[in-house]
Assembly symmetry: C2
Homo-oligomer: 442 residues x 2
C-alpha cells in the first residue's frame, strides 16, 4: 500500500486534540450566536440523492461533487456540497405542520471535489443560518446580526471583518438605467460577478453583447467598485452611481435596521457583490476580512423563490453559510487562536489525582477517581510509575488542572490534601467535604 | 424527478429541531463522560482511502462500504464505516511526539452500505473511546467505566443495561481444555461468535471439524451460555465451565477493579461474547439492553496489536464504539426521551420580548433584542402582527421562556416590565438594571 494512503485524503483534515479544540471553540460561537438569536438546530444526511443538487444548480454542479452508488443499488448519491437543498427538502416535507417563521441553523461537514487551495478544502465545516417565512429588512438584518454576533464572540471587530452588502433590486434598477434590457439582466449579473476573472478585452466584449456602449461600460465598472459606509445617505449613494434616488430605495430599510441594531460599523454597501447563485432575490452579502485578504468568510442573502423551486409553498427566506476554513485563517492572522497551542481551548480538569504510593492511598485513588467523575468533575491522573510528588504536580499544571488532590497515608482516616494550583495554597480536607468544596470553587 | 429523491436517502435521517435536541442530549452525555474521564476529543475525515479499511478487515469489507472516486482522480475513497482505522492512522503519524497514554474520544457520523433494519441504519453517529499506551485491567475498567458513566447521565440503570464481558485468554484456555488445537483457535472463536446464526446440524459439523467430540461440543455450548455476576468468585466461575481456576485467572483483576469502582452491578461475565473482529487480544465486552432485547448498544475490548498492524510501534490499547441508533431505542423504551416531544431538550429562552405596539415600544424592541443577545441572553420574540398580550404570552410559554419582557409606552422613560413566567409575578424595571436581573435569575 502506498504511503499516501496512510494519510488523510487530500483536502481533508485530521483533528488532533488541539486542532479539535479550535474547531469546538468556533462551533461554540456559532452555536451560542444561533441559540441566543432564537434559531433551532437541525441536521440532515451527509449525502443526498444526486438529483437534489441539480434542481437548484443545474447539471454543471455534478463535476464538483463526490458522487457514488451503493453496490447493487439504483440510486446515485452525492456528498453534500452545501446545505440549502437539504433545508428546502426538509421545509417542503413538513411545510403544513411547521410553525412559522422557521428559524433554523446547522453546522455540518460539507464536501467539494475541487482542487484544494488556500481557504478551500474538500471537506470543511459550514455554519448555516436560515430564517424562513418572514419578508423584509428586519429579517435580513436579523440574519446578518446573527453572523456578526458569532464573530464578536470569537474576538473579531469591525476593523477585522466587514459585511459587504448589496441588493439585487437596486443593482437591477441601476443596470437598466445603463441600458441593459430586461432579458439580459441575468447575464449582466453574471458579468458583474465574474468581472475580476475576465481580462479587459473579454469584459468589453461581453459588456458590448449586453448592449452597453463605452459610457455605459464605465458606469458598469463604477457600480462594481461602489463601496460606501452603510450609514451613507441614500441620496448620496444614488449620486455615486448616477441614478435617481428611487433606484436605490430598497437599501434604505436595511440601512435603518442595521443602524438601529448598532451594527453600522460592521457593514458596508458593496454593489459589486452578486453571489453567483442565480436564486437570490433581494439583499445579498458576503463577510470579508476587512482589507480584502482571503476568500469570503461567509455569503448569503434573500432567496424568496427557493422553497417553491423544491415543490413547496411560496415562502420568503433569507440565510447564509459560513465555512470554518477561511474564518480560521482570519482568526489565526489576528492572533485569536494562539492560546490553542498551549491547550487553552481544551476543557480544564477540576482535579488532578496523585498518590504517594502507600497501599491505602493506591486503593483509595481508584475509587476516588471514579466517584468524583460520577459526581460530575473532570478528573485526571498520571499513569506514570513515579510517586515523585514534584513531578506529578508538574503533570497537573501541564493539563491546567484547578486542583491537585494528594492521597497518602491519611486516606485511611478519611483525609486528603487539596492543593489549589492557581493560588498555590493547600489544606487537608475530609473526603466527604470534597465534592462540596470543589463545586463551590468552580 | 421521482418523489423518493425528494426524501432523505434510505437509511439516513432528517433531524428536525426536536430530533436534533435528542441527538445533542445523547452527545452531551457522551462528551461529558469522556471529558470528566480525562479523554481528549479528536476527529478525522468523513472518508478515507478505501485501502485503509482493508488493512484490518480484509477485502470482505468492501461491499459494506460506500466507495467512490473523484472525477479525474486516481484514488478510491470510502465513507468511514468505523473509526478505528482512522484512529490507528492518526496514532501512527505522530507516535513519536504524542504524550502517553493517548486518551481520545470522538463522536463522528459513520456509514454502512447495508440493508437498513431496526437498530441499524446506513448513517449513524458513533461515540468512540480509546485508551492507548496502558496495558492491564485498570485501563480496561476505566474504558468500561466511561461508557457506563454516559449511560448513567442519560438516566439508565443496571436494571436497564448490562455490560457483558469476556476475555479471549480465558476463553482460549477453556477451548484448549475442550480439545481445540492451537491452530484451530481462531476458527473456534468464529464458531462461538456465529453459534446463534447456525442451525444445530451445521454447528455440529463445524464443531467436529475443530476436533470436538460430542462431550466437548456440550462443553462448548456450556461456555457459550455462561453468564454470571461479575462478583462471582473465580473458583466458582472455573467450576461452571469445568476448568482449573488458573484458566480463568485473567478475569480476576478486571473483576477486582470494576468492583472497586462500584460498577459490579452493571457488569456480567458472558463467555459467549467474542466480538467478531479478529484483532481483539484480551478483554472483550458488549453493552446490551438488560433483557437481551435489541442489538448491542456498544462493543469493544483490548486490541494490543492494532497500532502495529498500521505500521506503528507496539502499543497496548483498549476502546469501544457506541452507536446512537440502538441506544435511542433503549432510551425511548425506558421513557427517557418522552419530554423531547414537548421541547424539553431544546435550549430554554431567557427572555421572550413583546411590545404593545406603541411607536416608541416598536423602536425599542429591535435594539433591546439585539443588545440582550449581545450580552449573552437567549432572546425570542413573536413575528406575528398581533399585539394581543395574552396571545403573545402564550407564545412565550410555548417556547418555555423564563421571562417575558413587555415593552410599552414606559420605554420612553427607560422602563420595561419583566414577567417571571414560572412564578407568574411581574415588576417594572429600569432598562439598565435588566442584564443584571436576568443574569442573577439564571
Amino acid at each position: 500500500m502506498s504511503s499516501h494512503k496512510l494519510q488523510a485524503p487530500k483536502g481533508t483534515r485530521d483533528w488532533y486534540p488541539n486542532e479539535m479544540s479550535v474547531r469546538r471553540h468556533i462551533e461554540a460561537a456559532w452555536r451560542s450566536a444561533s441559540v441566543d438569536s432564537g434559531f433551532d438546530e437541525i441536521e440532515g444526511p451527509t449525502f443526498e440523492h444526486l438529483e437534489l443538487y441539480t434542481i437548484k444548480s443545474g447539471e454543471g454542479i455534478v463535476n464538483e461533487l463526490f458522487s457514488f452508488t451503493r453496490a447493487g443499488g439504483d440510486d446515485t448519491y452525492a456528498l453534500r456540497p452545501e446545505f440549502t437543498p437539504t433545508l428546502a427538502r426538509m421545509v417542503v416535507a413538513r411545510a403544513a405542520q411547521l410553525p412559522m417563521p422557521i428559524k433554523w441553523f446547522c453546522m455540518p461537514a460539507m464536501f467539494r471535489a475541487e482542487r484544494p487551495q488556500r481557504g478551500r478544502l474538500r471537506e470543511f465545516q459550514q455554519w448555516n443560518v436560515d430564517l424562513i417565512g418572514v419578508a423584509g429588512a428586519e429579517a435580513d438584518a436579523e440574519v446578518i446580526a446573527t453572523g456578526i454576533l458569532a464573530l464578536e464572540r470569537l474576538g473579531l471587530r469591525p476593523t477585522d471583518v466587514q459585511v459587504r452588502i448589496s441588493h439585487r433590486d437596486a443593482v437591477a434598477n441601476i443596470l437598466r438605467r445603463l441600458g441593459v434590457a430586461a432579458e439580459s439582466l441575468h447575464a449582466a449579473f453574471e458579468l458583474l460577478d465574474r468581472r475580476d476573472k475576465l481580462d479587459a478585452a473579454e469584459f468589453a466584449k461581453r459588456a458590448a453583447a449586453l448592449g452597453l456602449d463605452e459610457g455605459a461600460r464605465a458606469g458598469f465598472e463604477r457600480v462594481a467598485r461602489t463601496t460606501l459606509p452603510i450609514a451613507t445617505d441614500i441620496a448620496e449613494l444614488a449620486r455615486n452611481v448616477d441614478v435617481p434616488v428611487e433606484d436605490v430605495e430598497p437599501l434604505a430599510a436595511l440601512r435603518d435596521r442595521l443602524s438601529a441594531l448598532g451594527l453600522a460599523d460592521w457593514c458596508r454597501w458593496d454593489l459589486g457583490i452578486v453571489r453567483g447563485l442565480a436564486y437570490y432575490t433581494g439583499m445579498v452579502f458576503e463577510f470579508h476580512e476587512a482589507s480584502g485578504a482571503e476568500r469570503a468568510i461567509a455569503g448569503g442573502g434573500r432567496y424568496d423563490t427557493l422553497v417553491e423551486l423544491f415543490g413547496g409553498p411560496k415562502l420568503p427566506a433569507c440565510g447564509f453559510g459560513m465555512g470554518d476554513v477561511v474564518l480560521s485563517l482570519v482568526l489565526a492572522d489576528r492572533g485569536l487562536l494562539k492560546d490553542a497551542e498551549a491547550g487553552a481551548f481544551l476543557p480544564r480538569p477540576d482535579v488532578f489525582l496523585l498518590s504517594n504510593g502507600a497501599e491505602a492511598a493506591e486503593r483509595g485513588v481508584a475509587g476516588l477517581e471514579h466517584s468524583l467523575r460520577r459526581a460530575g468533575f473532570h478528573v485526571r491522573r498520571s499513569y506514570k510509575q513515579t510517586r515523585n510528588i514534584g513531578k506529578l504536580l508538574g503533570d497537573a499544571n501541564k493539563v491546567r488542572a484547578r486542583f491537585a488532590l494528594i492521597v497518602d497515608d491519611k486516606f485511611a482516616d478519611g483525609v486528603v490534601t487539596l492543593k489549589d494550583l492557581g493560588a498555590g495554597t493547600q489544606a487537608d480536607v475530609w473526603r466527604e467535604d470534597l465534592d462540596g468544596l470543589l463545586r463551590r470553587a468552580r
